[in-house]
Amino acid sequence: MIRFTSTSFRYEAEKPWVLDGVDLVIEEGEFVVVVGPTGVGKSTFLKTLNGLVPTFSGGEYAGEVVVGGRSLSSNRPADMADLVGYVGQNPSASFVTERVEDELAYAMENLGLDPVTMRRRVEDALDVMSLHEIRESPLGELSGGQRQRVAIAAVLAAAPKILVLDEPTSALDPGAAEEVLSALTRLVHDVGLTVIVAEHRLERVLPFADQVIVLEHNGVIHVGPPASMMAHSPIAPPLVELGNLLGWAPLAMSVREARRRVGDVKARLEDRELPTVRPIPEGSALTTSNLTLNYGEQRALKRVTLDFAPGTLYALLGRNGSGKTTLLNVMAGLLRPSHGTALLHGQPPFRMAPSDRIDLVGLVPQDPGDLLYAQEVGEECRTADREHHLEEGSTLEMVQKILGKIELTRHPNDLSEGQRLSLALAVVMAAKPKVLLLDEPTRGLDYCAKLSLIEQLHLLRSEGVCVVVATHDVEFVAQSADQAIVLSQGEVIAQGSAREVICHTPVFAPQVAKVFSPLDWLTVKEVMTALGGKR
């Protein structure tokens, strides 16, 4: 179906190759997962599959890619549209029309299909992605998860043979992600669709994969079946780490498989003590009582009563649109509650002057780039020092603690997702707020970047900062959080120690907890310590 013959590509001459002499064959009807650390060129690789690279990017290109019998050197991306469907990282930016139904028909209109076929395929696509209820809705009013599903359906409707998806589940809650992925698997099985997915949350996609492509920084690509490829992959989901720890060969790719093989280890773990829950320190950093917030007639938050202690890391979980972001915005003083109160050191945050507020509470929004204004990283750090009357260089020091070395002259927009997040975090922390709020910080981060983020947050926690993280990433919660709060339709439906909360809801349970259920082990590290380092 897809054949790369010694294909090379780089964005600029003299820069390192993103793809270096790649030879690769992908068969029809395979579910392929593209794996690699942040910034290695996964998106670039995906875009070569229909010619978006180099047509839209420019750059140096050599070799040949043949997709479905058509050479990409003689076909434009538009000419490949009937064969390759491409869904980019940011679905909202890809919308051309105004309504869900029109968006689904857009590609087919361009292909010149007759209205009868078009109508039928739109209905099919609505069914596959369960979009029936919102078919008439304007695209601007959809939630993040719905947008992602519409973007996929819009491409599916044109009935391509190959579907290319760049991080399709990063904006989705675990339930919605599962739904999208199983819909895709069904298409792979039923109609022989070839699916190629790049995804950081490998724990979500690996169980479905037939083939894994591993990208390395020097432009080299390895292809193979998941179990053997993951054994050497630089980044690995918990299940693979667990397999490596227990010396499994071949590795287990699905929780089900792992459960079958974990029998004796589970028996040994049964009489081991679970790690103790970190005690909640005295005092209170932030409290909300009966907090209600309405957007028009819609209730975004309903009587939320919570108490956040200093020196503790809280995870805020819940479906897309359950009110997590709203709650963070209220706590950061951006929104004014309709009823009830949020108190930060005895004062409602929305009443404070912004310049006073930032000394007490800091929020890193979903797109951390929003917080950065300067044209250079160094300039950004210096401004933060000046604004908060810090010693020159202290913000930079913090950035370097997380990121290691960083080029001071780079534009914040040119940084990788993880680097930008760290920079925004450092800039917010420069004011030394007592409460730090993070909205979906692990989007686009690979496992290594996630680990260094966790380290950084734990350091802040030990300094007495109250950290609240709204996230869909259950593995991140398992590794980092002390306490967890679950929201649904704006109400708090569960709260308690992270272990208790996430182990007892199947949707939020991390892989290790699923494998060792009903024992409440959360991470590979815990299991390793309990087993005494070695197996």
Partner: protein
């Protein structure tokens, strides 16, 4: 349910017809009646979607237009002699500014004349405002022939872009608040505009990419040179005919013979040219709304009145035009009112818009908080 709705093009043609009627009229009685007719139809048939709420906006703009016209007349208008209502202190201007006057006596005649001109403008605005509220311009764009596809897409993407921009501004504002930076004043303005524009640029690149990947701009074989030349000539002839014809129709006492026929021939040539060049695009349309008898009736109801008014204009000028010399009440002509009322027929052939279950507020939460 969608199919028994008149076509978007039909609504815009209806509005165009009534706007031309407004241009022809200068008698306030049928003019006010025309306003009522347009408002009625617009209000009863406005779409429940977001753009449907634009009717009241146009009503307000119309009111402002009339008001501004009156105020300008009072302050700077030509001093028409007649019944003085009150006087505004006048400013003596140097001799080189002859013909310009500021202040002076304000007469009833001058106000009436200005009011009628203002009302005319307001009616034209209202007609298109109503069309906009009933059938969104986007729907109209969708119905353009293939050759305009690229332009239509560009406009419709632009229309999409505005709400995106507002969203972006809100986001950047709250981000600035998060860093304790000003969101007002010059510094605040600059701090918001630069990131918003940066984002807009990035957004448009991503959009272009997505459109390319989804087959935008696919064409069938390129047409022969002779054929494209023929298309061009026919389109140019058509446009020329239309322009001359319209000029003849709208300006009283022009020397262009048979302007109506000229218009018709021009329209035929133009459509031939447009349809023939459109062949090159392979594009098809999803769920096209047929241009059925309801649409025809809708168009006719907009233009029949124009025919009637044109006839009245020559047979009994008082029914359609009015000038306040002498200052008497304008003629109330049943015939003129009937001509205007024909516009209401469109109501009979269009169904009442279905109320969309309000899914709107459902996700506002997320949209606003971002």
């Amino acid at each position: 349910m969608i199919d028994d709705r008149p076509h978007a093009v039909a609504w815009w043609l209806w509005a165009l017809g009534l706007a031309v009627v407004a241009v022809k009229l200068s008698n306030p009685v049928p003019m006010v009646a025309l306003g009522a007719v347009i408002f009625c139809v617009g209000y009863l048939r406005q779409s429940p979607a977001a753009w449907g709420r634009s009717l009241m906006l146009f009503v307000k703009i119309g009111a402002v237009v009339i008001l501004v016209r009156l105020i300008f007349q009072m302050l700077f208008g030509e001093r028409i002699p007649g019944h003085t209502l009150f006087a505004i202190p006048s400013v003596a201007l140097p001799s080189w500014a002859a013909g310009v006057s500021i202040g002076g006596p304000v007469t009833a005649e001058s106000l009436i004349t200005a009011g009628i001109v203002g009302l005319k403008l307001a009616l034209i605005l209202l007609a298109f405002g109503a069309a906009n509220a009933i059938a969104s311009p986007r729907e109209l764009l969708r119905s353009l022939p293939g050759v305009f596809n690229e332009i239509a897409v560009a406009i419709s993407v632009g229309l999409c872009f505005l709400p995106e921009l507002i969203n972006a501004v809100q986001r950047v504002r709250s981000a600035r608040k998060l860093r304790g930076r000003p969101t007002k004043g010059i510094a605040g303005f600059r701090g918001i505009v630069v990131p918003v524009l940066e984002e807009a640029l990035e957004h448009s690149m991503e959009l272009a990419l997505s459109m390319g990947a989804r087959g935008f701009g696919r064409t069938s074989s390129t047409p022969s040179r002779r054929r494209s030349a023929l298309c061009g000539v026919s389109a140019i002839l058509g446009v020329a005919g239309l322009i001359l014809g319209t000029y003849g129709l709208l300006s009283a006492g022009s020397s262009i013979p048979n302007p109506g026929v000229l218009c018709g021939v021009g329209a035929v040539f133009l459509s031939l040219g447009v349809v023939a060049s459109g062949r090159r695009s392979v594009r098809t349309r999803y769920r096209p709304i047929p241009f059925g008898w309801r649409s025809m009736v809708c168009v006719v109801s907009g233009w029949l009145g124009l025919v009637g008014i044109s006839i009245l204009q020559s047979s009994s000028p008082d029914a359609t035009s009015y000038a306040p010399y002498p200052l008497v009440w304008p003629t109330v002509s049943v015939a003129a009112l009937a001509c205007v009322a024909v516009g209401l027929v469109a109501l009979a052939v269009s169904p009442r818009p279905a109320l969309r279950p309000s899914g709107r507020s459902k996700h506002m939460a997320e949209a606003t908080s971002r």
